[in-house]
Symmetry: C2
């Protein structure tokens, strides 16, 4: 993909997902040559102007390396432009390149995230805001402008596999976002821990969202044959520790209990329902377009998710009306 | 205006300006309740998705309070999404509220701007980049991603009335942006100083852009009667030092040699041509929608600028072909 197309393609994914009836579109943040997007809010604003209904979120905003006031302003603006469709997902980031780029010391990794999450929630909920912390200049009766369209900007918390992060999300009453790359069943205790922490803090547990690498086609064999070369190249480049992904391992990851959602529409439906029984999540985010998959294949995959997978999942869960903000499509561009 | 409309209205200004044939659309940065936009890049990205031809710029980006790496990433993304239509204008900001908000000490005002401008130009022109300064963490062979669509992202320098700033712009070879609020003729020495500084640095002087408060209608009387109550309210709120703007002063500011461009299409054409003789600028940016002027009046004013003022100015200057990036419309939202 040329440089322009990767950002512009993402906007087209949002447009197709919106038209086909998905509920949410997300864009991640990376500061690397091999990912197109370092500024999710700029891509999401373009998507907002070409869509009417779909919700728009970051997946994720690397909060440790960002200024929470700036993040709030950007997403409040996105919320105004989209008529109340903005969300943001705060995370530490799966990569570390943002730390030297923005001058954060790696040995204060946890402190930076906690301090900035506290400020983000404070400026979301109070205006003017007075705050002091350890990683940023204090605020004294400072205004955070503009205010968003929604009464409160939704903030999700992204968690890899760290139990204390799930506890924090529960205690803060924030919805939880799980990026599942290994065995999905290993995440069941994390979801349980999250719900228990919320209850212990006297809060109702928020929603759980799950994200997975995704490609769907009409047939199982077709989906795997199309996707394998792209996905093995993606894994080789982004997860060098995983080693070279041979076809047998790929087929195993894509099997009924693996983390990879690559198969026929029927297989994807079964896997979403099985994972829902295990984790009780109410949002599924599909990571699409990995490994330089063609734009035509990516768009067809998004359409199949909306028109075949989503109705079947809704029907199986007896959700006759569209489940607001539920099963969802997510683009990684 | 309700909160949503002020950001969404700005996107509509861009759409109308694009369709009517103007060359550039700009959005400023303010961190105050009485201005809608704190994040120009997010509004410009939405505008990019609803336009096809018009250039998109910040007017201005308050660089002293921003992280230049983040600014570069945001505008490079905007450039990719818009197919090479992004620019940015770096300035110190006409207001000071961003300093306490982002933790910059006011007594290092000049140092912050110079240090961050140097980094912005460095990361624009080199990749990877190694840099060290006094107001931000250093960079060591760091990548700035994504790279923009254009070979080099255009960076303009905004100047109020400070001669040393004009000298800096000339020496750096950056195009100059003059915000003219007082007597336009007072800016002629600044334009001359800019050209001389460029020549002394062995550079060709860049373009000069001029911005002015703007409202046009078919007749002079109509334009002034419609605009006066809005403009006097705007001045009272934003320039309290100017005192209450009575109608006689308003009419004088809007006269043939005043700084305010409010009148008939013929008056606006004459004034642009006179100012062009005085300053030699090749871009005129009209600040529209001031003081809560209605959206209908604002859109009509933008259309008149494109369809009547611009062709007359081109004709008078013997610019038969559309003057690329020249006479321009600018929205303050």
């Amino acid at each position: 993909m040329c440089r322009r197309s990767s950002a512009a393609h993402g906007v087209e994914w949002a447009r197709v997902a919106d038209e086909a009836g998905l509920d949410v579109f997300g864009v991640g943040e990376h500061h690397r040559e091999d990912f197109a997007v370092s500024s999710p809010q700029v891509v999401l604003a373009a998507a907002a102007a070409q869509t009417t209904r779909i919700r728009l979120t970051s997946t994720v905003t690397v909060l440790s390396s960002a200024d929470p006031v700036r993040v709030f302003e950007d997403f409040a603006t996105l919320d105004l432009i989209s008529g109340g469709r903005a969300e943001l997902t705060a995370g530490r980031g799966a990569y570390l390149e943002s730390f030297p780029l923005f001058g954060q010391p790696l040995d204060r990794y946890d402190e930076y995230f906690e301090d900035r999450l506290e400020l983000l929630l404070r400026i979301r909920d109070q205006n003017p805001v007075t705050w002091s912390g350890t990683t940023r200049a204090p605020l004294e009766e400072a205004g955070g402008w503009p205010r968003p369209f929604q009464p409160a900007l939704p903030v999700w918390l992204a968690v890899g596999g760290t139990p204390s992060s799930a506890v924090r999300a529960g205690a803060l009453g924030l919805p939880l976002y799980l990026a599942i790359l290994g065995d999905p069943q290993r995440f069941a205790p994390l979801a349980e821990l999250y719900r228990r922490s919320a209850a212990e803090a006297g809060r109702s547990p928020g929603r759980i969202g799950v994200t997975s690498h995704f490609y769907v086609e009409a047939t199982s064999q077709g989906a795997r044959d199309t996707f394998y070369p792209h996905y093995s190249s993606y894994i080789g480049q982004n997860m060098p520790r995983a080693g070279r992904l041979d076809r047998a391992s790929f087929d195993s990851w894509a099997g009924p209990r693996g983390a990879l959602f690559a198969g026929s529409t029927a297989e994807i439906v079964d896997k979403i329902l099985w994972e829902h029984e295990t984790l009780g999540h109410t949002r599924f985010l599909a990571e699409v377009g990995l490994g330089g998959l063609s734009q035509a294949d990516t768009l067809r995959s998004i359409e199949l998710l909306a028109t075949e997978v989503l109705p079947a999942v809704r029907s199986a869960l007896h959700l006759d009306a569209p489940l607001s903000q539920d099963k969802a499509g997510k683009g990684r561009s």
